[in-house]
Amino acid sequence: MLFHTWTFLLFFAAAFPLFRLIKSAEGKRLHIMICSFIFYGWWNPLYLLLISFVITLDFCSVYMMHKTGRRKTFLTLSITGNLTMLGFFKYANFIITNINTFFESAGITYALPAADILLPVGISFYIFQSMSYTIDYYRGEVERETSIIQYAAYVSFFPQLVAGPIERASHLLPQMRNWPAAGGKDAAEGAYLFMRGVFKKIALADYFALYSDRIFANPAQYDSAELLLGALAFTWQIYFDFSGYTDMARGIAKSMGIDLMENFRLPYMAASIGEFWRRWHISLSSWFRDYVYKPLGGNRTGEFRTGTNIIITMLLSGLWHGAAWNFVLWGFIHGMLHLAGKKLSPLSIIGRIPLFIKRISVFIILIFTWIFFRAENANDAFIMIERIFTTPLSMPDFPAVMFILIILCYLSEWLREYNIIRFTRSPFFKIAASIFMLIYLLFFASYGVQEFIYFQF
């Protein structure tokens, strides 16, 4: 059930009035848990077994930590259980394929049979969210949750269940415990956020996808300019696809009185790769920072170890996105660029470069890194990059409308970064913008419902 479908709107139209009628926080939590299970089970009722397992495992782990005092044992149990499940559903085929490739290159004729496993939607998101609770409890950063219904509502909260933001127990659980009453203002703000998300997804991301999909499907067929524009189109596609989803999720939650965390803060305005990760998919990068990078020692263990920690964290982040080498490579490149940025930033020559030049340079670098993310495989990514630099420049068949939209999007990022368009925060603007977006979608947007890119992770 995708947010921008009639099915979801109908589901929400039924769930929301009932939610508004319920006065107690307890009732609201129960209602949300039931709705979330219906929402998730809509994809495949069997998925409910998986999420129920995660909920039960982590809820019981924390209960046992509390009851027995054997905190490390039950934390290990929780992490092992979660990662085994994630590994099985997400990485089994990747591991088998690589073992078979190794066998083949070693001249071994035996091949492991491929596992016929369907990746459950959103599994990486809710497992990470649930794990953050057990780890935070272990660290003493969050109180134990005594109600399994409350905990189930937290893990399965449908607005952010399948593609984040990956919430933290310390942020979401207290809100749910004393569920704030949602007023008309919340509903209006939620509706605006939702509409903005739908617009980003349908009017922008899906449009850019029409071009980028064609280019990435067969990069060897295209020349320099088309390949570059394909990568540029994808750069905006993924941003609007994912931030559109986040806006919709935040809008739905807001209409129910819940504030979800911000997941994007003008990422293409970053002046370094490190800064990019503080602006892009913030809930995931902060998760890796808090639960991987810092436990590895962070930047407190000397220069070499800091570098290694960054690379390990970024490799894992790449692998989190997908079980394929191009994602690992993408993570590795980001790690190396992050490291290079760290090394170079103290140099006085770097300090003298104007900020806007740094921002534009980082944006150009990001366009190239996205190639590894989007390409069907690592080989395609290299072909694409090679052809960008070796084929002649010719006039591409690129729609002028798309080009203008991309310019406008980039311009809007700059204006927002420098707070020049503060009027966009006024209620009048939001209402006018909502009406404009609705009319624009009705008349000009593409037909057909496209899935979100991040659903595959």
Partner: protein
């Protein structure tokens, strides 16, 4: 009341006013004209808003309305040579209007009449009954799931009446909204009549070097008559007719006729010809028997039934459509038919 709430109320009211009033008032300024004999242009076949506008205009005339599928619409004829065009020419005035829609199954025709022809009351109507739809469970929509159904949006969305219609919930809800909210039909009308493509984005991708002014010039409304699918030399067909008691087409055809009668229209059924020359003797025999059953059923309900002649093989363009000359022959014959003639008095 604070300023923000006031803005919200004003904006919501303005928007509601817009979505309610725009589709209703737009017909006053719409410059979409119908082609001769009121035939809906081919690219507008799924423009149900236009059809509604069209039926509203016709409801104010004394014309005899021909309702039906592609045989009535004239798939193998240009606008000036359809059945109604030939009737108008032979009769010497413009008494007949073509309300046919290309490729529409009677189940979809029922949806069209129910939702988009409510204006038509107290009129003389000829309802085209085409037995082609009963020539197989696939055509009849009583067979296995068929993904190539035309005018799916007009089918009943939330009943299990049509086994061949296997749309998912999302498509059914979308179709329901499309056909029940006038604003959506109106938006589709604007897109179909004023834009070069239903998707602006798709158009820019397909025409990256064209100026977008071309997009707003609308689409080409001309219709190229397809070449006839000559039957000569082809082996005779053994058709597995769907029996009337099991037929979806027949069930919905009757529902359509009854709905029109409930609106005080004077309805006559016109069984459009079938290319009997292409059938094996057994199939032909069964066709005639089924046709008799349909006539009996209609007449038992007090519906006058006109059975057209079967023109010679060379006048047929395929199994159920005649070409332009075939329509002339049918028109001549109709004008001599007593039941039909009684309408003209």
């Amino acid at each position: 009341m604070n300023k923000k709430n006031l803005y919200i109320i004003i904006a919501a009211s303005a928007f509601l006013l817009f979505i309610t009033a725009a589709p209703r008032t737009f017909t006053l300024i719409d410059d979409n004209e119908f082609t001769g004999n009121y035939r809906i242009p081919y690219p507008m076949g799924e423009n149900y808003y236009l059809f509604s506008h069209y039926s509203s205009s016709l409801s104010k005339t004394e014309k005899i309305l021909f309702l039906g599928d592609s045989v009535i619409w004239g798939h193998y004829a240009d606008t000036g040579n359809t059945l109604t065009a030939q009737l108008n020419r032979l009769h010497g005035n413009d008494r007949f209007a073509n309300m046919g829609i290309d490729g529409i199954h009677p189940a979809a025709l029922y949806g069209l009449v129910k939702k988009y022809s409510a204006h038509i009351e107290n009129r003389d109507i000829i309802a085209g009954v085409n037995l082609l739809w009963m020539s197989s469970p696939r055509h009849d929509l009583s067979g296995e799931i068929n993904n190539e159904i035309n005018h799916k949006k007009l089918l009943p969305q939330f009943s299990r009446d049509i086994p061949a219609y296997g749309a998912g919930l999302e498509e059914r809800i979308s179709s329901f909204i499309n056909t029940n909210f006038k604003i959506i039909s109106w938006v589709n009308h604007i897109k179909m009549s004023s834009f070069a493509d239903s998707s602006f984005y798709r158009w820019t991708i397909d025409n990256p070097r064209k100026n977008i002014r071309h997009f707003f010039k609308g689409r080409d409304m001309s219709y190229t008559v397809p070449p006839p699918m000559r039957q000569a030399g082809v082996a005779l067909q053994n058709v597995t007719w769907v029996e009337p008691e099991n037929s979806i087409q027949w069930q919905y055809m009757k529902k359509t006729i009854n709905l029109l009668r409930e609106r005080n229209n004077r309805v006559r059924a016109y069984i459009t010809p079938y290319n009997l020359h292409s059938l094996t003797p057994e199939s032909r025999e069964r066709y005639i028997a089924i046709r008799e059953i349909l006539i009996r059923e209609l007449e038992a309900e007090g519906i006058s039934c006109i059975t057209g002649i079967t023109p010679k093989q060379e006048y047929f363009a395929d199994a159920s459509h005649t070409g332009e000359e075939g329509y002339r022959i049918l028109a001549e014959e109709l004008l001599q038919n007593k039941k039909f003639n009684s309408l003209l008095r």
